[in-house]
C-alpha cells in the first residue's frame, strides 16, 4: 500500500464522519463500481434463480441464496474500493480472483454470516489477512460500536427502499388496477419482488461495504497517525 497515492483526505475523523466518507466513495466511483458489480452479481443472480426455478420450482430459495452469499459480494466490492482509493481500477477477472481466494470466505459464509461488525472486520481479513487477523480485529475493534450500528441502519435502509419501490409502483397504478394488486399472485409478483430486492441490494450493499472500509481506514489513521505520516513525508521531501 502506497499511502502517498491515496485519493481521499487523510485526517482523524469521528467514526460517523468516516462512514460518510465511505458513502462519498460510492458517489465518486459509482460508474466503475457498478460496472464491476453488475458484471459479477447479475450473472450470479440470474443463474441462481434459473437453477432454483428449474430444479426446485422455487424462486424465494434463490433470493435467500443471494442473501446468504452477501459476504462474497462484499469481498468484490471491498476489493474494488481498496483499489479505487489508490487510483487503480482492476479488471473483473482480477477482482473475482482476489475476492474468492485467501479471504476466509468459508468462515464468513457460515459463522461469520451473523457477525454484526462484518463490514469493519472484512478489511482486516481480506486486505491484511495472515494468521494474526483475529488478534488484529480485537485490537482495532475496541470501542467500535459504529460498525454494528452501520449494519443495523443499513438493514433498515434495505427495508425502507424495498417498501418504497413497491409502494411507488402501487401509487402509480391506476385505481381500477390497484384492487387487483392485492389479488395478484403467482410468478409475476415473485419475479417482481426478486428484481426489486436485487435493485435495493445494488444500492445498499456498496454503501455498507464502503462505510465499513472507511471506518477501518479511520481507525488505522488514529492508531498509526497516517495524517502525520503523510505531512512528515512532505516536510522531509523539501527540507533535504
Amino acid at each position: 500500500m502506497e499511502l502517498d497515492k491515496i485519493e481521499a483526505v487523510v485526517r482523524p475523523r469521528n467514526p460517523w464522519e468516516s462512514i460518510d466518507l465511505g458513502f462519498s466513495m460510492v458517489q465518486r466511483w459509482w460508474k466503475p463500481l457498478y460496472k464491476v458489480w453488475f458484471a459479477i452479481a447479475l450473472p450470479l443472480f440470474l443463474s441462481l434463480h434459473l437453477f432454483f426455478y428449474f430444479f426446485y420450482e422455487s424462486l424465494w430459495m434463490a433470493t435467500l441464496m443471494i442473501w446468504w452469499l452477501k459476504p462474497f459480494l462484499d469481498r468484490i466490492l471491498l476489493h474494488f474500493f481498496s483499489q479505487a482509493l489508490f487510483g487503480e481500477h482492476p479488471s473483473i477477472w482480477q477482482t473475482l480472483k482476489a475476492s474468492l481466494f485467501k479471504t476466509r470466505l468459508l468462515l464468513a459464509l457460515s459463522l461469520g454470516r451473523f457477525d454484526f461488525a462484518r463490514s469493519f472486520n472484512l478489511p482486516v481479513l481480506q486486505l491484511e489477512g495472515g494468521k494474526r487477523a483475529t488478534e488484529r480485529i480485537k485490537l482495532l475493534q475496541k470501542n467500535n460500536t459504529q460498525a454494528v450500528w452501520l449494519t443495523i441502519v443499513c438493514m433498515h435502509f434495505e427495508g425502507i427502499l424495498l417498501i418504497s419501490v413497491i409502494g411507488l409502483l402501487y401509487f402509480m397504478m391506476p385505481l381500477s388496477y390497484s384492487a387487483d394488486f392485492y389479488a395478484l399472485e403467482g410468478l409475476w409478483l415473485e419475479i417482481m419482488n426478486m428484481i426489486f430486492y436485487f435493485l435495493v441490494l445494488s444500492i445498499v450493499e456498496p454503501l455498507y461495504v464502503a462505510g465499513g472500509f472507511a471506518l477501518y481506514l479511520n481507525r488505522r489513521t488514529h492508531l498509526e497517525a497516517w495524517d502525520i505520516y503523510l505531512a512528515f513525508r512532505r516536510i522531509a521531501a523539501h527540507s533535504k
Binding site: V9, W16, E17, I19, D20, F23, I163, S164, L168, A231
Partner: protein, 243 residues
C-alpha cells in the same frame, strides 16, 4: 481531481474560509430514530392522560400529535442551536448553507417538506436524495438551503504545559501552515501512539531535526513548543517569584 472528503468549504463575509463537516445518512437516520422514540414516549404519556378526559381528551390528544409532529423539530432547531435532542445526542446540527444558524423560515421549510421526503414510504425519497447529493441533503434541505453538519469539537491542546517538558526551539526552515499543524499534532498524539510507531514517524523528518530515535521525538516536541509559543515550564520556585 480534488481529494475525496465530506467537508464543504464556506467563505464568511469576513473572508475567512471555513470547512463545514457535512453529516451523512447513517447519523441522521439514528438522530431521527432517537427523536421519534422521544415523541412516541410523549404520546404514550398523553394517551394515558387523555383517557381521563374522555372525548375532550381525544381531541386534545389529536391536537397535540399535530403540534408535536410539525413543530417539534422546528422549535428545537430554532431555539437549540439547530439541534433536536436526537441530533444533539449524536453531535450534529442544522445550519444554513452559508454556515449561519437556521432561522424560522428555513427550519419551517425543511420540516414541512418532510412530507415529500417521506414519500413513497418511510423516507424512501429522502434517502435516495441524500445518497445522490454530494452534501447529503434531503429534499427539504435542498428547498430550504440548509445543511446538516457535525458540531465542532473544541480541540483540547494541553497548552498549560510544554510537551515532554522540553524547551522551545525555533523552526529551522519555513513550513506551510499544514505542516506546522502536523508537527503540533504529532506532539499532541505521540503519547498515545505505539512507541515504535512514534519513533518511525520521527525518523521520517530526520532531515528537519537532524536526529533519529528518541532524540528525534524530543526535538519535535521542542519545535512544537516553539510553534505554539510555549516556554520551558517554570520550576515551582520561579513560579512563586513571578506571582
Amino acid at each position: 481531481m480534488r481529494l475525496l472528503d465530506t467537508t464543504r468549504p464556506v467563505e464568511t463575509p469576513e473572508g475567512i474560509e471555513l470547512e463545514l463537516r457535512v453529516a451523512g445518512p447513517i447519523v441522521r437516520a439514528l438522530a431521527w430514530a432517537i427523536d421519534f422514540c422521544i415523541r412516541i414516549l410523549f404520546y404514550i404519556v398523553l394517551l394515558f392522560l387523555s383517557t381521563q378526559l374522555e372525548r375532550l381528551g381525544n381531541g386534545l390528544l389529536l391536537l397535540s400529535i399535530f403540534v408535536l409532529e410539525w413543530f417539534y423539530p422546528v422549535l428545537f432547531e430554532v431555539y437549540r442551536q439547530g439541534a433536536t435532542p436526537g441530533k444533539n445526542a449524536l453531535k450534529i446540527k442544522v445550519l444554513h448553507e452559508s454556515g449561519t444558524p437556521v432561522d424560522w423560515s428555513a427550519s419551517m421549510i425543511r420540516n414541512l417538506l418532510r412530507v415529500v421526503d417521506f414519500l413513497p414510504f418511510s423516507y424512501g425519497l429522502g434517502l435516495i436524495a441524500m445518497l445522490i447529493n454530494k452534501d447529503f441533503k434531503r429534499i427539504g434541505d435542498l428547498a430550504a438551503g440548509t445543511i446538516v453538519v457535525y458540531q465542532e469539537e473544541i480541540p483540547c491542546l494541553k497548552n498549560e504545559k510544554a510537551w515532554g517538558d522540553e524547551s522551545a526551539l525555533p523552526m529551522p526552515i519555513v513550513l506551510s501552515l499544514e505542516e506546522q499543524q502536523a508537527i503540533i499534532n504529532f506532539a499532541d498524539r505521540a503519547q498515545q501512539l505505539p512507541p515504535a510507531r512514534a519513533i518511525e514517524l520521527a525518523n521520517i523528518v530526520t532531515p528537519l531535526t537532524g536526529k533519529t530515535g528518541e532524540a528525534g521525538i524530543k526535538s519535535l516536541y521542542q519545535l512544537a513548543n516553539g510553534l505554539i509559543g510555549c516556554q520551558q515550564p517554570l520550576s515551582p520556585s520561579e513560579h512563586i517569584a513571578l506571582t
